[in-house]
Amino acid sequence: MNTETLQHPRGAAAGKAHAVETVLSVSGLSPQAAHFSRVFELMVVAAIILLFTGAIHLHVLLLAGDWDLFLDWKDRQYWPLLTPVVMIMFPAALQGIFWTFFRLPIGATVGATCLMVAVCITRPASFMWWTDYPLNLVLPAQMIAGAIVLDVFLLVFRNALFTAIFGGFAFAFLFYPSNYTIFAPFYVPVSHQGMMASMADLIGYVYPRSATPEYIRIIERGTLRTFGDSASWVSALFGGFICIFMHYAWWYLGVTMSSMKFLPNNTKVMALMGTKADA
């Protein structure tokens, strides 16, 4: 079975003949079996939410880390570049799994939503309630916009390669504008002690984080200076380019990790496993 491409249903002559058929009728499940299948699906959904909420949150914390955690790390160079490159990994793997085995174009959205659920719990809990930091210092970026578009590209193209090229690129390119609406007020300038700062810098300064001195911020370093205030779009473009490859690689990683592999039952393998072959 070719798991990557699919003939368009409108072009399939069989589609006309089976117009009234549903997934259930084609699957051949009895009503009782279908009911139990549904109960099982809901249990799987709950398990996926729990599992991937934790996994994707840990993944983003470890790789994107401070860029996603703190307001005064959301610059124009590293944030629009690193965050989508990190955030596309799990959605791409989930897309690969859901599409390959179930033809469900929801993998990326599941990943993005699970991350949103995780940060909606952890940011208020860890920072606001546990350590008394204001919520605006730790507002997270969202990747739902890019994830939905990534899923739509998969739905339209039905092809891993084109999804990676167009969808992966769009995922990163949409990251900056879709999050700018949230973070725009924090780039408004203020004068503090006679020096200019953004509101994000000021909020980061006012609330002390003893273990993260100001110089630790990896922001606005490197070149791209000839682009003036368009540096963020250059980062978004470059991030899109990297995401193409990241999506393709993680799609296949997801499919491989969810596939069953069997070792042949021969004497070589048995010797490797330490079992004696029959005489």
């Binding site: 079975m1 249903p9 997934v23 084609v26 699957s27 051949g28 499940l29 279908a34 299948s37 099982f40 699906e41 959904v45 005064d72 610059d75 085995f101 179930f102 939503t113 909606c120 350590t131 008394d132 204001p134 919520l135 605006n136 507002l139 969202q142 739902i144 916009a145 939905i148 578009v149 899923d151 739509v152 039905r158 949409l174 879709s178 700018y180 949230i182 725009a184 007020p185 780039y187 408004v188 300038p189 004068s191 002690q193 020096m195 200019m196 953004s198 810098d201 000021l202 909020i203 300064y205 006012v206 609330y207 002390p208 003893s210 001195p213 110089y215 630790i216 911020r217 922001i219 606005e220």
Partner: protein, 419 residues
Amino acid sequence: MQSIKKTSKFLWVCFGLMLTACLFTESAWAHGERSQEPYLRTRTVQYYDVHYDKKTVKVNEEFTLVGKFRLMQDWPDAVSLPETVFLSAYSPGPMITRVESYLNGVPARQSFSKLELGRDYEFKLIMKGRVPGRHHIHPLLSIKGSGPLVGPGQWIEVTGNKADYVLPVTTMNGTEIENIEFYGTSRALKWYGVWISLAAFWLLFWLVRPLLLPRWMALQKGREDVLISTRDITVGVILGVVVVAISFGGYFYSKKEYPYVVPLQAGTNKVDPLPRQKAEVQVVVIKANYDVPGRAMHITARMTNNGSEQLSILEFATANLRFVNQQAPGADTAVSADYPRDLVARDGLGLSDQKPLMPGETRDIKFEASDALWEVERLVSFLTDVDSKFGGLLFFVDKSGKRIITEISGPILPTFTAL
């Protein structure tokens, strides 16, 4: 069956022990600096003249912390040089907030670069009470590559109600923000709601139908045509267009709403050190021992008075500990009332010879800094130090009360028998 019972019993015992351990844990409130190695605290940043103007403040009330620090000339090799530093206040989270900070009069919101060894700097921190409670606050200098080096800590009591905390700000385009604490939060939450709603719609669009097993079975039979319909594609494309429109529409609208924006400020400041004091005293360490059972540091140093006034040894200070020579002129006012008393040695500094050092004179003087503070502050782990040396500041005073500060440093040997 027996082994299952045994394993189960063992697991219950472990669980019980864990619970018991949790009951007897203590909270850590202060003095984390005691975990730092002695050479880090005695040979890098020496704080002095540290003053807290208040010990009790209300929520929203400001208090000021001033002081000076010397960056020791004999800087340890294992510690990064102060090429990039950041001045701050060490606190258990945002229990207090920073209002203003200065290093030698230069605003210190950002980091500083290229501070000089062997020189002095003056700092000023203005802070504000925010969360009621008793909080341990230190001045803090963070050095890139090495971490935080704290000054003497003081308990600050914050009274009142946390909900009363406000920090109003006026932006450069005239917008008045009532309280920086809630700025931008409701807007962000609304946008999160928009995106989560769109995601929920897309997920529910697929979740309401048979999801896993029926689709998998249909796929195995080669009936992919029933899995994705024209309607699915249409809905998906419309949703995609809506998402892109909202993303870019929102972006351009925000650009119009906030036409004047600045990037995050990432530069470092530069500042000159305080003027160098004339080198009126030269101190060379001849011998230094730490008496482990006696909890005393014995230092013999050759001191030369190159000045024109006679000088008395007033104080030996290291790692925020202060050993004051009670017999020196001005000893009774050497330690200000607000200095943390748990960092001042009770018996002060003992000298082999209390006679002042006359102008031009060179003399070997032995002094003893003895107190249980060495152990309490965990400054005695010389056996585990990679660089077994000590450092500190020696304060001299002349007849007029003028103070001269010198660095003192050298190798130190621990001794395990009484000296």
